[in-house]
Symmetry: C2
Subunit: 134 residues, 2 copies
């Protein structure tokens, strides 16, 4: 696993992962369940390459895991068994942003994105019959 070394290095990696608002927005969105990169692109409105790098950073920090389903890569929050301390840290982070208006807006927006609103990018939303997507 990525998260094995020295406590200080690990904390540094975790804190850096949490020190960018767009990464925190992505993590917050993942609380409702896994998302593919294209959905996160829709939410954050950043270039695909940028989102990809952000997700690589939170993954290296051990905060998320990913799986690949055909064309899509799905990210989800890392499971509890992984690391108690990191879980506590993340919980504290979510607590801090609990009432943040951007996070609230993202929540609403994510519902639309998950529902698969028509005429948007990330055609995965509507092209797949009724699969696990979303």
């Amino acid at each position: 696993m990525y998260a094995a070394d020295n406590g200080l290095n690990r904390l540094t990696r975790l804190a850096k992962a949490l020190s960018d608002p767009n990464r925190v927005r992505a993590l917050a969105a993942l609380r409702e369940g896994e998302l593919c990169v294209c959905q996160l692109i829709d939410l954050l409105e950043l270039a695909p390459s940028t989102v990809s790098k952000h997700m690589a950073i939170v993954k290296m920090a051990g905060l998320v895991e990913s799986r690949k389903d055909s064309r899509w890569v799905y990210y989800r929050l890392a499971g509890a068994p992984h690391d108690e301390a990191a879980g506590q840290l993340l919980k504290g982070a979510f607590e801090v942003v609990k009432y943040d208006p951007q996070i609230a807006a993202d929540n609403t927006e994510m519902q639309r994105i998950r529902a698969g609103y028509a005429d948007e990018r990330c055609s995965a939303q509507r092209d797949r019959t009724a699969s696990s997507h979303g």
Copy 2:
């Protein structure tokens, strides 16, 4: 107070504060009680200006408070009443570094620094009779 605004901004400031190992070392040392800047300089072995800036960053994040006693500026961890969420975050951070060898070494070293070992810089350690210093 510094810590009043938007949750995402606040979290970003907190996470950045925790994303440098030297700042975390300083915060960990402060768990045992307040320290003046010169003591932190002895511990971290960084230039005074560097330590000063580090402490300004953790103060802006709301993690520490300071008081000035004549020539010296003492920093301490911010009191509990300030912010439940930030406290939880910091607690998680300390949990992550619980078994870090550098933090353990710092603990030992801090005992010596607090005791006021002879022939070191930060003369405050020994010049003052038996004052609150340390």
